[in-house]
């Protein structure tokens, strides 16, 4: 089965690797900016589908289907992002006679809308964050709601957004005042004084559950992923299992996730995202009807290859495991390596990767999307690669990640590797003690930490001074004895020359 991958970067590479192991030929598609991208180099065939902007290439359904037709592809894997959760694209693939490696367009559609998915989850008995589904006209209705779900509650302007027109209320006495204020703000900001209320989850964690189903009605879960560490709503570090989920909780989360999946007749790999309060209560947030960026941590602890399973399921295959056969072993952590400068407020850092050394050795997995000599373009997401580790326990996994980050070297552009080292060292992270606000809270101490590192100022001065000394010597006596710097030069020259 020839598979076209409608994506780029590390996820396209991931899918190509899975296809190769299944003996499926692969077709990469790419924008004009991506001819030398790693996913293009690794595929058996490749087709250019448009100019650099995604809207003119990776989001062009017609161009992708044309590439499939031209190369005789029989299936399309959408990866994540781009068209992965676009029901129209899934349908267009099916209409073109291609297998879509994902769920049905109906499942995508049902879970794609916040309001529809919330309604369907409520109907299926899946807990959602308690809230008033309609705007209220009096504070009494909110008081009744708060009496039911408990404080704190958040009063929100129905037309709100951008952090405006909302107010957190901790005590009953403050309700009326807050209600009046939000209404008046809503009126002045949005010209609409409708307000509603939601339960506010204090110090929440973001916990998600991987589900996997086939087209024959089998649907299982593969445990949870801890995705609480986020910066600007972007996940930074993920792990499995979660340090706050025990076996009983895992069974409850898993059963709820399977229930959610069943409600939309789900098949292929999918993820149910939950918000979990400090009290362990959890609420459905949304479903991602596709492979997740952080899927490898689940693969490491369960031994299931999710991408191969997706491909087998798309072909009509049955699940290879029943729920009883799923075994969890050890602990896995993933760090997303971005082309961003941790020391300059995460400014993007595209450009030529002059040198790249990926960490290796036991328990280390690189899901790399780039290579040495590649120029990271300015047009796309700054994620370069994912670094994943697996070890017997959480503590060992953290130390392994720290070791691996120490081997990671990227020259030419800046990356978030030092930021991840900082997180791995943080006592609260080590203790598993964090919520969704953790990253923002620790950022102020990051720069201080970055300034230190293992760097020896004297060593740096020595290296630079020797270089200056050698340059001076070369000017004075061009044919002096060999030096490390010139030996280095010769080695590079050798490396470059033809033999």
């Amino acid at each position: 089965m020839k598979v076209l991958i409608a994506n780029r970067g590390e996820i396209a590479v991931r899918v190509i690797r899975a296809c190769r192991e299944l003996g499926f030929p692969t077709v990469a598609v790419h924008s004009e900016a991506d001819r030398a991208a790693l996913h293009v180099l690794l595929a058996d065939q490749s087709v250019e589908i448009g100019p650099a902007p995604s809207s003119k290439s990776y989001l062009r359904i017609d161009a992708i289907l044309e590439a499939a037709r031209k190369t005789g592809a029989e299936a399309v894997h959408p990866g994540y992002g781009f068209l992965a959760e676009n029901a129209e694209f899934a349908q267009a693939c099916i209409d073109a006679g291609l297998l879509f490696v994902g769920p049905s367009p109906d499942s995508i559609r049902a879970m794609g809308s916040k309001t529809e998915s919330r309604q369907r989850m409520i109907a299926a008995g899946v807990p959602v964050v308690p809230g008033l589904s309609e705007a209220v006209s009096s504070v009494d209705e909110i008081e009744a709601f708060a009496a039911e779900v408990g404080f704190p509650v958040m009063i929100k302007a129905s037309a709100g957004g951008g952090g405006k027109g909302l107010r957190l209320v901790e005590r009953k006495e403050d309700l009326r005042n807050a209600f009046d204020r939000v209404r008046s703000e809503a009126k002045s900001f949005f010209g609409d004084d409708a307000v509603y209320a939601e339960k506010f989850i204090t110090s929440p964690r973001h916990i998600e559950v991987q589900i996997l189903g086939d087209q024959h009605g089998n649907l299982i879960h593969l445990g949870e992923r801890e995705c609480t560490l986020q910066r600007r709503h972007q996940k930074v570090v993920e792990e499995s299992p979660s340090p706050v989920v025990d076996e009983t909780m895992r069974e409850r989360l898993g059963a709820t996730a399977v229930q959610a999946g069943r409600a939309v007749n789900y098949y292929s790999a999918g993820t149910i995202e939950f918000l979990m309060g400090a009290d362990g209560a959890f609420y459905f947030l949304e479903m991602n009807t596709r492979l997740q960026v952080e899927h490898p941590v689940t693969e490491m602890v369960t031994g299931v290859d999710l991408v191969k399973e997706q491909l087998r399921i798309a072909q009509g295959g049955e699940l290879q495991l029943s729920q009883d056969q799923v075994r969890f072993s050890g602990h896995s952590i993933e760090c997303r390596i971005y082309a961003e400068d941790s020391s300059r407020n995460f400014a993007p850092s595209p450009g030529l990767i002059r040198y790249l050394n990926l960490p290796q050795g036991p328990g280390v997995r690189n899901e790399n999307g780039v290579y040495q000599g590649y120029t990271v373009p300015i047009h796309y997401d700054p994620m370069l690669s994912k670094l994943v580790v697996h070890a017997g326990s959480r503590e060992e996994a953290i130390l392994r990640m720290k070791r691996a980050l120490g081997e990671y070297r990227v020259e030419g552009i800046e990356t978030t590797v030092p930021f991840h080292s900082f997180i791995m060292d943080h006592p609260d992270f080590r203790a598993g003690n964090f919520d969704t606000g953790f990253i923002e809270r620790i950022l102020p101490s990051l720069n201080e930490s970055l300034a230190q590192g293992t760097a020896s100022l004297d060593a740096a001065v020595a290296a630079a001074a020797i270089r200056a000394f050698e340059q001076y010597q070369n000017v004075q006596r061009p044919q002096t004895e060999s030096s490390a710097w010139r030996r280095a030069g010769r080695m590079e020259a050798l490396g470059r020359g033809n033999r």
Partner: protein
């Protein structure tokens, strides 16, 4: 050979000499006996007398040196003592500022034009790269003398954006 290293606002005297297969480097009053070899196309291994070693990458632009240790980077300037003396005289007359792009990207908005008066911290333009907008602020007060770019233009890393006098 004697040098002056400038970092952290200080001028530190340095002396480098060849010594056996390696070097002796004196920083202020601390003398290190070091050994330095290439480790592939980008890295070098520097070893001190006690066997401690560092895998580092070195980059240079004129007298500006950047030494990267993987998890931290040190920036310093190395000059010979004469240059330093000359430089001190020049420093008296403060010059302008040439703002350059710190990353390749696209100029999505321009906030200033030639002749505008700017303070330190005044937003000059927005540079977009990798789905993120980055505001470029004026590093000093002055008057905009040249605008090298226009809105919508793509720029390379290091390209001149705006000059301030």
């Amino acid at each position: 050979m004697k040098l002056v290293a400038r970092y952290g606002g200080a001028n530190i005297p340095i002396e480098v000499q060849r010594e056996g297969g390696g070097y002796s480097v004196t920083v202020e009053d601390r003398t290190m006996h070091v050994d330095l070899v290439s480790a592939g196309p980008a890295l070098k291994s520097l070893r001190l007398d006690d066997g401690r070693q560092y895998l580092l990458a070195h980059h240079q632009q004129g007298d500006q040196h950047e030494v990267s240790f993987g998890d931290a980077t040190v920036h310093l300037e190395l000059v010979d003592p004469l240059t330093l003396k000359r430089r001190r005289v020049e420093d008296e007359s403060t010059g302008g500022a040439n703002i350059t792009a710190l990353m390749p990207g696209k100029v999505v908005r321009l906030f200033v034009a030639v002749g505008d008066r700017v303070e330190k911290g005044t937003p000059l333009l927005i540079l977009e790269a990798m789905k993120m907008e980055n505001e470029v602020l004026s590093p000093r007060e002055g008057v905009v003398s040249v605008v090298h770019v226009e809105s919508g233009q793509s720029v390379d890393n290091g390209a001149g954006l705006i000059d301030i006098e």
